[in-house]
């Protein structure tokens, strides 16, 4: 018999009759492929949008000099201009602004030198004033602004209209003097861009005498690297001299953790798809045991049986992968905007306008889909090929093919659990070998552990059912008895569904415990560190890192203190800077004033010395991630790049700080102002006088200072709440993974129960013929589902707690983070496991109840 004949005659029939199973397997692989494709496309598109916006914004510039986020002195510009080989060097101020027209909208504001910028960038004005040769001339007056056509059309802005923009000095009015065609810089940020004179921008955004960037074009025939070297030599340390492409790479590095997180989701999705394929193929083999026996009896070889099933899988996987690619591309288009926003909030501003698809995306997607499907099918297919021809004649109603014997499984389980334990021991005790002490290494220990436990599910399920049988089954009458027995008769197959639930719940409990522990620790930390009563802030605190905030002049604290009821106010400035190629947070507060009521949580170093060593001295404290990442301890010195040149600072202490997980440097605000020349603040901590009503004082501050600027005045309780919410966002991946795994677990149960119901058609017929009611049939199937869910849930909770500890350890947030067992979540998880299973059981139960008695009895 040849394969094509078999495929045509036999397989097609099955696909027809086993629609649900085939569809689920198809959906599983499609989704996996869709995830891979869409995430690859989105990742690429986000980077591409950065690349494009750099290109558009840089025009002819071959090199760019950038420094700290707060900008750097204009003198640098003169230094760059005098370097040999530099043709033009033009200054740029680039900040975020809030457009207060209609719906509030954040825009990028470019401050450029009206006289020289045309050498680097080209602007063109829309029709109405096309006769004026140089659009930048419009900007001569300090209240002039150019906006893009896209923005003008969207907001309904016309020439000469006045628009209101949030600035450091409060809300200011600008006059729209021209509307830019979508060319060059006007294409940046999807057109959410405004151009003003650099001097006006410096004034409006608190950057007097400072610029954010120098864009440089080279003389003809000059060698890029040579000029770059000369520029580096000419300016102080701490500046970056990069090509626009190099800046894209920088961004790529910055986003790598984020994009890896996304890739992890797609890997997860494909693993899940594999699970569904595995399940579908196993079940199809169980159901077709007799058919395989007949084929074998008729002279089909083992190899042919294997090839038949693999060919079926191949056909399904090809269809699924093609479908997945299509879904992936569509999906990428619809999520790329959201992803762009997340990236904007947490990393760097961008507006992703479209997706860019290369031929590589579909090819990788299809290859992954097919490979994953075949890999998932191989074990069940092997088992199938071992079915003996006697199966055709033997009418034993069930029998487990002896491929995965209990003994083998338990041995394999033991192996993996021991492996996990030794990996963990190595991690723990192998000193500081960077390879062994990496979170990836610890992660592999978790994977082995979970693998070991999932192999043990058959044994666990058997024990669980015995217990159920002893304690509960007979109390539930015939339903309980039948459900327990039915589950017990095909342990291995049911264990696959239990393992899926187990896995889903363990991921859920794992991440819940992880998140809960961190949140609890953060709460403890916030309570220790943030002791003020009110926080006055420039932006909503939940957009905490790189959000579109307009800082305030630092001296406002004096005005705040004048508000009746206020006891004290002190500033807090947050900036992101590059330290040794990594992005770290620089947080500066007034150590004297703040120190009166709030303290650091010191991990290393002596707390008593902080008050002596920090105020206005070149000393800092650093957070634990910083200390670990850069290998510093109290007593060390670090060289911090500042706009006025590198500054050597002593490290006085290592402290707990959760504000930024890549590391924080804290210094006194006077030290900061001395080196950065920056007189801005992002927050003010306000204490009220004893006995004063916090909300009254809060309203008073809002009234007195919030009139001409956007101001968030929050009672400290709300502020902390917002910080916690903001942290929550960083856990989206954890949540996403939990949801995916749980969904899959649900699918696993549906497939398993459906197969088991179909397999029992005859039995159900007998039961119905001797008087079992429809609801009783349903109840048995639902109870089976519930039992599988509960078994998986219990095992999953145990595994989740154990692996949660490891996850927390591997994340190495801080030594101050302790593992808290998320008791509430565990109760929840158990209910969820049972509930999800019950929901998954509804359709199979319905199918079972609908079984036609007479047909079932003729069916053999």
């Amino acid at each position: 018999m040849n394969l094509t004949n078999l495929l045509r005659q036999v397989s097609l029939r099955h696909i027809k009759y086993q629609k649900a199973q085939t569809l689920l397997a198809l959906a599983g692989i499609s989704l996996g492929v869709a995830a891979i494709v869409s995430i690859a496309i989105v990742n690429k598109s986000v980077l591409r949008s950065f690349e494009e916006s750099f290109q558009n914004a840089t025009g002819r510039a071959a090199l760019q000099v950038t420094g700290a986020q707060s900008g750097f002195p204009e003198e640098i510009l003169d230094k760059v201009r005098s370097v040999a080989g530099v043709e033009y060097a033009v200054p740029v101020v680039e900040t975020d602004g809030l457009l207060a027209a209609g719906k509030e909208r954040s825009i990028m504001i470019l401050g450029v030198d009206v006289l020289t910028d045309g050498q680097i960038r080209s602007y063109s004005l829309a029709q109405e004033n096309a006769d004026i040769p140089d659009p930048l001339l419009f900007l001569a007056r300090p209240d002039s602004i150019l906006i893009t056509r896209a923005m003008a059309e969207r907001e309904g802005i016309v020439i000469d209209q006045k628009i209101r923009v949030e600035t450091v000095l409060g809300t200011r009015t600008f006059r729209v003097r021209g509307i830019l065609n979508p060319e060059g810089p006007a294409k940046v940020m999807g057109g959410n861009l405004a151009v003003m004179d650099i001097y006006a921008a410096q004034m409006a955004f608190g950057k007097e005498g400072r610029i954010d960037r120098v864009d440089i074009s080279l003389m003809k025939g000059e060698e890029l690297e040579a000029v770059r070297g000369r520029i580096r030599a000419a300016i102080p340390q701490g500046y970056t001299v990069e090509t626009p492409a190099g800046r894209t790479r920088q961004i790529e590095g910055m986003l790598s953790k984020f994009q890896t997180g996304l890739n992890l989701i797609s890997i997860f999705a494909i693993v899940v798809g594999m699970y569904l394929i595995y399940n579908a193929v196993s079940i199809s083999i169980v159901q077709r045991r007799k058919e395989i026996g007949i084929l074998r009896a008729l002279g089909v070889t083992r190899g042919e049986i294997m090839r038949l099933f693999l060919a079926e899988t191949l056909v399904i996987s090809i269809v699924a992968s093609l479908l997945g690619v299509a879904i992936g591309i569509l999906f990428a288009g619809s999520i790329v905007g959201v992803l762009g926003k997340i990236v904007s909030i947490w990393y760097a501003r961008t507006a992703v306008t479209g997706i860019s698809v290369s031929w590589l995306h579909p090819v990788t997607g299809i290859a992954c889909g097919i490979a994953a499907s075949l890999a998932a099918a191989i074990f069940p297919v092997l088992a199938g090929s071992r079915i003996s021809p006697i199966s055709a004649i033997r009418s034993a109603p069930w029998s487990e093919e002896g491929f995965f014997t209990g003994k083998r499984l338990n041995r394999a389980a033991l192996f993996f659990i021991l492996l996990a334990a030794s990996v963990y021991a190595l991690y723990r005790f192998a000193g500081f070998s960077p390879l062994l002490r990496s979170s990836g290494f610890l992660f592999s220990s978790q994977i082995f552990f979970l693998l070991g436990l999932s192999l043990v599910t058959p044994a666990f399920l058997r024990g669980f059912l015995t217990l159920f049988h002893r304690l509960l089954a007979y109390r539930l009458g015939s339903t309980g008895m039948l459900a327990g027995l039915n589950l017990g008769k095909n342990i291995n197959r049911n264990a696959v569904a239990v393992a899926a639930i187990f896995f889903g719940i363990s991921v859920f409990v794992n991440s819940a415990g992880f998140v809960y522990s961190i949140k609890s620790s953060v709460t403890i930390w916030l309570d220790a560190v943030v002791r003020a009563d009110i926080i006055v802030s420039d932006g909503h605190p939940s957009s905490s890192t790189n959000a579109q905030t307009i800082p305030m002049p630092v001296d406002i604290w004096r005005d705040i203190e004048k508000v009746p009821g206020v006891r004290s106010a002190d500033p807090w400035r947050k900036l992101y800077m590059d330290y040794k190629g990594k992005r770290v947070l620089l947080s500066s507060v007034d150590m004297v004033r703040r120190g009166e009521y709030s303290h650091f949580m010191v991990v290393q170093g002596r707390e008593q010395e902080l008050r002596r060593l920090l105020p206005n001295k070149d000393n800092v404290v650093v957070s634990e991630p910083f200390a670990e990442q850069f290998g510093v301890k109290p007593g060390d010195f670090i060289t911090i790049p500042t706009p006025s040149g590198p500054v050597r600072c002593g490290v006085v202490a290592v402290v707990v700080d959760y504000l930024y997980d890549s590391g924080t440097i804290c210094m006194d605000i006077n030290t900061f102002q001395r080196h950065w020349g920056d007189r801005l603040a992002d927050h003010f901590s306000v204490r009220v006088k004893p006995g004063e009503d916090i909300s009254r004082v809060k309203d008073a501050i809002q009234r007195q200072l919030g009139t001409d600027r956007k101001l968030y005045v929050l009672p400290v309780r709300e502020f902390k709440e917002e910080i916690r919410k903001a942290m929550d966002q960083t856990f989206v991946f954890n949540y996403a993974l939990s949801i995916i795994t749980m969904t899959i677990a649900g699918f696993g149960i549906i497939i398993t129960l459906l197969a088991s119901v179909l397999e029992r058609t005859r039995e159900i017929g007998i039961l119905r013929s001797i008087g079992m009611l429809r609801w009783q049939v349903s109840a048995v199937v639902l109870l089976e589902s519930l039992l599988m869910g509960t078994a998986g849930g219990i095992l999953g909770c145990v595994a989740g707690i154990l692996t949660g500890r490891l996850t927390l350890e591997g994340a190495r947030y801080s030594s101050a983070v302790e593992y808290f067992i998320p008791a509430g979540t565990i109760v929840w998880a158990l209910f969820m496991a049972a509930g999800l299973a019950a929901v998954a059981g509804i359709y199979p139960a319905h199918r079972a109840a609908k079984t036609n008695v007479v047909e079932a009895l003729t069916y053999e």
Binding site: P397, S478, G488, E763, I766, I770, G771, L773, R774, Q776
Partner: protein, 229 residues
């Protein structure tokens, strides 16, 4: 006791119709052992299924002890099956996951009686059919004849108004078959009403009355010929 009036059963397959049973009228009295004969495809199983409430007629009426089986809900019909009717089929009569005793007790288990209270009754019934030593065996540990005895015991546990058997020995050798027929005949002697479908004239002869179906129509009835044993 069983009244069938003008019962018909039509299966629709696409556009064509199959008349499995046409206009069958039949009365079965208490204590009768009725054998239904006829060629393959003549509608024997269909008729038996209608009597047992496994299926409902497309036309006509069926009563058991005066209770209509037509036009009632599935749940009502199911409860009648559970409490008033005992079934024996040709093969795979038993649930493989239950022991012989549990299989016998099944109809009452479905009614909510705990097994502990049913066990002795189940064992007694198994003893009656000659399987007192096999109560804890599972179906795959029993021979075909033994399985059918278990099925008979199960059919009896509710004291059914009628025992229905569709070729109960179709899978058995002639010697074992005879044992089964003798068992059924003895039950009938104790007053059990039985309706049995069979191909085999020798088997049919164990009945007190034989009817014949042909193409879905009642074509012969031994009671009219006064040949009943």
């Amino acid at each position: 006791m069983i009244e069938i009036k003008n019962a018909g059963k039509t299966y629709r397959q696409g556009t064509s119709e199959i008349h499995a049973l046409r206009n069958v009228s039949l009365g079965i009295d208490r204590g009768e052992f009725l054998s239904i004969m006829g060629p393959s495809g003549s509608g024997k199983s269909t008729l038996l299924n209608l009597i047992g409430g496994l299926d409902q007629p497309t036309s006509g009426e069926i009563f058991i002890d005066g209770r209509a089986l037509h036009g009632i809900s599935d749940d009502e019909l199911t409860l009648i099956r559970r409490r008033r009717i005992g079934f024996i089929f040709q093969f795979f009569n038993l649930l493989p996951i239950l022991t012989a005793a549990e299989n016998v007790a099944l109809p009452l288990l479905l009614d909510g009686t705990p097994f502990s209270r049913l066990k002795s009754k189940a064992v007694t019934l198994l003893e009656q059919v000659g399987l007192g030593a096999r109560t804890e065996h599972r179906p795959e540990q029993l021979s075909g004849g033994e399985m059918q005895r278990v099925a008979i015991a199960r059919a009896l546990i509710t004291d059914p108004a009628v025992l229905l058997a569709d070729e109960p020995t179709g899978n058995l050798d002639s010697h074992t078959s005879e044992d089964i027929f003798i068992l059924l005949a003895n039950l009938n002697k104790k007053g059990q009403t039985i309706v049995m479908v069979t191909h085999d004239p020798k088997a049919a002869a164990y009945g007190t009355r034989i009817i014949t179906l042909k193409d879905g129509v009642l074509s012969g009835d031994s009671s009219h010929a006064m040949e009943g044993r």
